[in-house]
Subunit: 376 residues, 2 copies
């Protein structure tokens, strides 16, 4: 495991850093657009690059079922397949097995499940997940874990976390070291600080290139999530990247960066882009709203994206009303640009040692300026 | 009316020329991508430009209903609305009224119809169509006509053509001359050479910036269509552009260029792009076909488009199988690039005075190399 993370500045618990991989360097904190099936939905790879993204995420569950890991490997690996020579992180498949697959059956060694696509039966074990991610040519692989359901009793959460710890060790054994490639562990333990600490201890004993915090953003609420971060992050090594999985809204991200998280992924900006929800400096609004029909202003006057530089809100409104594909294309582009610029701003604020002021100003703008804005 | 057309080379009946408008110059023969609702489906305006398109088409029927001509005008006109500073041609709305609207009722002065979107009642007359196209800021407007149904008796076709001729005169009266803007007449008359000649005569007597040939590609077949072109085009002035509406396949276009047509529009490349049908130098094939799943070759090795330069057939196959928006995006990009390169090749062959050899070679490639290719 040879992925390097180097902090370049700290501001309280927050840090700005550089993640160096076989496929380039990534400035952190960073947001990873989700490219579930080897495509960031509604975006060309060139467009994703233009937003400023340096790393994208692929989903092992989806890719192992279609087109299949061997096929991706034969077609040159995920980087070449999807035209993304940059860093790619893949998840382990475990989360989607629990949320998408049919008739899943867990045991101590892994999980049997039926594909949601065609009902075919598959098995995922720590070693198998690592093998698939290797075939996909993921720069960063994730250990197979169980995302502890929420709510769970402390005993349920403990058993789940302990199994994830055993699977983490097996994942580590199965991972083939290659220069610039790496494997991240995933801290579990639900909302219980003691379990999170035990998980962090078990994982750091094994030793990984980075540490994810999993099992959050599953209904526990922002306060509980931040509580877990406060209890967990101080236990993680400072010379490894920290990744908060599946998070989140801009407000979630700002709070997590303030608590020391370096990496994020979430479907929010892309999914919102397909449902007319725009993320802007002034909050979130829905472009289908009739008040935008005659609006000649750009979506976000401060934004550098294609949608904001070339089109009016009235045009974007029209595209969504008419059901035109260009609506999701342009708004996904905008939302991802907004997220990337948010991360760049947070990084700059950390380096300038003014993160808290910057975060307060962001929150004031989100809440204050957009009368009908709904912050989600 | 001040749109200038200048032939720069002729090869038999075919010609290469330059169309000079308020929004740029267009090298002919040219293919106009269809941007029905102020967007070429699945394409950003930048992507449309990258294919080489110099002129796009908008549909008056769709735009008058949604978002509405006044709204487009208030938002800066169609060029600004859709980020297309280049030349835009709009149709008159007549064709879509007949094919899409509900409960239409023709009379001598125009047509009443109900919107297919919300059932609201609208009226289109020659003057009203021209007014709408003016509000849209169309560089080239089309006269309101009746696309004569097929099949029709000669008497039906004559009555329809005569009404279209009267409407053409009214359209001309309603059109407001502006430098670099123009109005095209539309020759009708079904498959009857005498009626086509009468229509061409009536229109040239009025005088237009260009002459379209309408009422074709409605089921009459390629031979009948070419017969109409052979009978009509010699009757049109050589110093005006000629536009064959709604045509067609690459093979249709080559034959029509050989007969002297300068301008084309058709939904084929864009619609095919959304349904996995690829137009290539080796014919047409469907990317959903399982034989492409493991194909590492580019879609068309000679093509300069994004899809062919960055991705494999296996990737494009995967995108369509997975229902990903990027499939239609990339394949529309490819198909439009193929059409634009086809037009550039035809123009170059005319200038080099080797059009017939070039056309024969194109046809041989389409038919010969792709065993399961279906040429449509």
């Amino acid at each position: 495991m040879t992925i390097r993370y180097r902090p370049v500045a700290v501001a309280g618990a927050a840090r700005a850093g550089i993640l160096q991989t076989a496929h380039g360097s990534v400035e952190t904190p960073t947001f990873m657009p989700v490219g579930t099936t080897a495509t960031v939905k509604a975006m060309t790879a060139d467009a994703v690059r233009e937003t400023g993204a340096a790393i994208v995420l692929g989903n092992t569950y989806h890719l192992m079922l279609r087109p299949g890991a061997d096929r991706v490997a034969a077609l040159g690996g995920l980087h070449r397949f999807m035209d993304w020579p940059g860093t790619i992180l893949t998840d382990s498949g475990g989360f989607q097995v629990m949320s998408l697959a049919k008739l899943r059956k867990m045991d101590a060694d892994g999980v049997m499940f039926q594909s949601h696509l065609d009902g075919s039966t598959h098995r995922l074990t720590p070693a198998r997940s690592i093998e698939i991610q290797h075939k996909l040519d993921a720069t960063i692989s994730m250990v197979l874990d169980e995302c502890t359901p929420f709510p769970a009793t402390e005993e349920q959460a403990r058993l789940s976390m302990e199994m994830s710890s055993r699977w983490a060790a097996r994942s580590r054994e199965a991972f083939l070291d290659r220069p610039g490639y790496g494997l991240f562990g995933i801290v579990q333990g639900g909302v219980f600080p003691g379990l999170r600490a035990a998980s962090a201890g078990a994982l750091t004993d094994i030793g990984f290139d980075g540490y994810a915090i999993g099992g959050l953003a599953v209904g526990e609420g922002q306060a509980a999530m931040f509580g877990v971060l406060d209890a967990t992050i101080p236990l993680l090594p400072t010379d490894r990247a920290r990744y908060l999985m599946g998070v989140g809204t801009p407000d979630d991200i700002v709070g997590a960066v303030q608590r020391g998280v370096d990496m994020f992924d979430c479907v929010i900006p892309t999914r919102a882009g397909r449902t007319a929800r725009a993320y802007t400096a002034e909050g979130v609004f829905n472009l289908r709203n009739a008040r935008f029909a005659d609006d000649a202003a750009p979506l976000d006057p401060c934004c550098r994206c294609l949608a904001c530089n070339r089109h009016s809100r009235g045009y974007l409104h029209h595209l969504f009303r008419a059901g035109e594909m260009l609506g999701p294309m342009l708004l996904t582009w905008h939302n991802l640009t907004y997220y990337q610029d948010l991360m760049r701003g947070l990084r700059a604020a950390i380096i300038a040692d003014r993160l808290d002021v910057h975060a307060a100003a962001l929150r004031a703008d989100w809440m204050g300026r957009e009368p009908s804005g709904e912050l989600t």
